[in-house]
Amino acid sequence: MTTHPIALPKTAPRAAFAKILLNEGRLAWRTPFGLGAGVVVPALLVVLFGELPKYQVHKASLGGLTLFNVEVPVLIALEIAIMALLSLPMSLATYREQGILRRLSTTPARPSWVLGAQVAVNLILALGALVIIMVVGSTAFAEQAPKSTGGFVLSVVLSLSALFAIGLFIAARAKTGMTAYATGFALLFPLMFFAGLWFPRQQMTPWLSNVSNYTPLGAASQAIQDSIQGSFPPAALLLTLAGCAIAFGFLAARCFRWE
């Protein structure tokens, strides 16, 4: 007996998603946390490290590399971590906290579209920072282009997946934007330690270096380092990243709450 309204063309979710993405882009521009901390700061550090003479000396203790060579993968790991662990969870959790996702769930748009748009915007920023670091590093300074291009691309893709999965898990669990930020921040420094932020991984004890290879950021920085300097990264590093992506991705999907 219910007369269905006349069949009309389905909403074009693609057009709606494009608008959401556009607005997320505007927000990223107007709230330049990710842009500043994740893109500008690493870019400035590349220039700074490139200019310091001390960083250009090839050292036996670094396996024949310069300090600059060592810092490039660390900076890449850092900018990915800032976008994935701080920027993404903070904005998603804030959206939930303020009822923005809930409001959206009363419209034909799906909250998952916003999630998708936020992931996309943060990914774009992370990739932008990566391109800046690599281009500035290799054109202005003594960094070389990756010797194993395939290895480099695979390492970057797996690193992004692993870190964004952890970020989504934080966003899934955090009740407020501030909790998300605090959690991300608390994770960032220990994880960056393994990536070699405080002292070069090459100078870690074998035991420490081994442990670090099983942490997401340690594996990320090592895999990227390896593929730049010449060899396809070891499977253990890539498996660590892939495992991390799958495990946290699953957990995030399991416990994500829209309101």
Binding site: P5, T11, K19, I20, L22, N23, R103, T106, P108, A109
Partner: protein, 576 residues
């Protein structure tokens, strides 16, 4: 209803919109062949014709310009040529000229031409139409003429002198013709609608004037939604009822200032929202125990109740945001659980607590939401209507509470919803912003949107709602019009006055309206129901007694609330 119109030919002048349109549509639905006349709005008239034809009826649109000589008879001629007869004439067209008929300058400054144009065209338009249809009616011994007057004729309206005079003249014409033509089988009646919320009225009259007109009406609100076919009620000239009788009884035209409200019992409309035995508990705490209610299409329906009564849970289940534990919910015939996407398309929701990204701008937010819907509203029009034009480029963060609320209402309307659910729309607003928002809702009432309004402000419900469900502890404790609820709670009205001379109590106690007469010094208090004031004053007047200082106490919705829930409603402005 059967008005006995099958096969009849009706000319309804001025029927591209408003009351005329409603009348034409109803007549068409009832099987009449209808000539729809328009002045400028040809497309609207054609839409009326289409609607009648889609319902299986026959109709034709023809232009009628009251200011052009011979136009009236040509319009009537169209119907005569096409169908060979005219059985029913509804004289509804109004001459507007350059401004609304009641917007004339101060009387002493009124130019003679303007007076003549407004008076003549409004009056003569009607009598020329009558002259044009009479030969056909007389030759067939059957005719029904309904002249549409206006409350302005009886009650007056500042600036409406020529219009009111023309309409008053129409009364004289009607009375005379009714006596002259009755034995020829032609009945002439007049109806006098009070201010009616047509699109034109809303567009032309400032909110204060609409409000004033509403307050002057016995129901304290304007007649609403003329011409909503399929709605639960249509505003139609009640004077048409004798059309069905073949027996030309003489019918005395009656002056009345009461709104004419005819309920179309057999409207094709299903309820816009239907909730039956809804139950919802959160972790064992029952939020909604057993709620059943039905909201008609086009209605503004209020859900009222103390905090924690289950109002919000009820509407959240209705729109599919929560899954009921038991009971069924249908929204425009759809099940929120299985037809989620379709329901999202046809509903607009404003939630009690929800924000928007602080740094997005008004236009950006609206533009994004617009892209979600199949048939979105015009964004600029909506921005204008909600008074946000100056804030188009302002960020959400910089908006005041009232502006945020208006944006929120705009978001609820941007998809051209059939049903809008507004939860605590004015909570937290200052009184001015609250009144502005009410004006807005009154404005969209005319667009045919069904509105479910969750509120705990009695004044809001009284002002806006057609009907109100009072919910307490998860159950509907009462469901009625705001006035009905109020009357139920207090057991009647009270009139207080002091009489110019002593009188016998029995004069009043014998009246059916009166329940009780009490004295307090020289003051008399009469308790009763119905048209109590009229009854008391007229009866005393007939006995030569004048009632002075008359005061009427009607109980308010607030009284009903307290009585039915045992609690006081929250004070205005308090946050829930």
């Amino acid at each position: 209803m059967d008005l006995g119109l099958a096969g009849r030919v009706a000319v309804v002048t001025g029927s591209s919109q408003g009351i005329g349109r409603a009348t034409a549509l109803l007549f068409g639905l009832e099987g009449a062949r209808v000539a729809v006349t328009y002045h400028r709005e040809r497309d609207r008239a054609l839409a009326v014709v289409d609607e009648i034809e889609n319902g299986g009826g026959e109709a034709v649109a023809t232009q009628l310009d009251l200011a052009t000589a011979g136009s009236v008879s040509r319009a009537v001629g169209t119907a005569l040529e096409r169908w060979g007869q005219v059985d029913v004439l509804v004289n509804n067209a109004v001459y507007w000229g350059d401004r609304a008929p009641w917007e004339a300058p101060p009387f002493e400054e009124l130019a003679a031409e303007e007076w003549r144009a407004c008076f003549r065209l409004n009056f003569e338009g009607a009598y020329s139409a009558v002259q044009a249809v009479l030969p056909s009616m007389r030759s067939r011994g059957f005719g029904r003429i309904v002249n549409v007057s206006s409350g302005v004729a009886a009650d007056g309206f500042p600036g409406g002198a020529p219009y009111g005079a023309a309409k008053a003249a129409l009364h004289g014409l009607t009375k005379t013709l009714s006596k002259e033509l009755a034995l020829a089988g032609i009945l002439v009646n007049i109806i006098m609608p009070s201010a009616t919320r047509t699109e034109r009225m809303v567009a032309r009259l400032p909110a204060q004037v609409l409000e004033m007109s509403a307050q002057a009406s016995p129901l304290r609100r304007l007649m609403s939604r003329p011409g909503r076919p399929g709605g639960s009620e249509n505003t139609t000239p009640g004077g048409c009822e004798p059309v069905g009788s073949d027996h030309p009884a003489r019918k005395e035209p009656r002056m009345s200032t009461q709104p004419v409200r005819v309920h179309a019992a057999a409207g094709p409309g299903r309820p816009a929202v239907e909730i039956t035995h809804l139950r919802k508990a959160y972790r064992g705490v029952v939020a909604v125990d057993d709620v059943s209610l039905s909201v008609a299409e086009g209605e503004i329906f209020g859900i009222l109740g103390p905090n924690g009564a289950g109002k919000t849970t009820t509407v959240e289940c209705a729109i599919g945001l929560r899954t009921p534990d038991a009971g069924t919910v249908r929204l425009m015939g759809l099940d929120p659980r299985t037809d989620r996407d379709e329901i999202r398309q046809i509903t607009g929701v404003q939630l009690q607590t929800s924000a928007l990204p602080a740094k997005l701008r008004v236009a950006e937010i609206l533009d994004m939401h617009r892209s979600f819907y199949r048939h979105p509203a015009d964004m600029n029009e909506l921005i204008e209507a909600l008074g946000l034009a100056a804030k188009r480029r302002a960020s959400y963060r910089s908006l005041s509470g009232g502006q945020r609320q208006r944006l929120s209402v705009a978001l609820a309307l941007i998809g051209r919803p059939q049903v809008a659910v507004l939860d605590e729309m004015t909570t937290g607003l200052d009184p001015q912003a609250r009144r502005d928002t009410w004006g807005l809702i009154e404005g969209i009432r005319g667009r045919g949107v069904t509105i479910v309004l969750v509120t705990h402000f009695m004044e809001e419900a009284e002002r806006l709602c057609d009907r109100v469900a009072l919910i307490d502890s998860g159950r509907v404790v009462a469901l009625d019009t705001p006035a009905g609820l109020a009357a139920r709670a207090a057991g009647g009205k009270q009139v207080r006055f002091w009489p110019s001379a002593p009188f016998d109590d029995r004069l009043l106690t014998e009246l059916p309206e009166v329940a009780k007469v009490e004295y307090d010094g020289r003051n008399v208090t009469v308790t009763g129901t119905g048209e109590l004031v009229n009854a008391v004053i007229l009866t005393l007047h007939a006995a030569g007694v004048t009632a002075r200082d008359v005061q009427l106490d009607t109980s308010s919705l607030e009284d009903a609330f307290v009585r039915l829930t045992g609690r006081r409603p929250q004070p205005e402005g308090a946050l829930s």
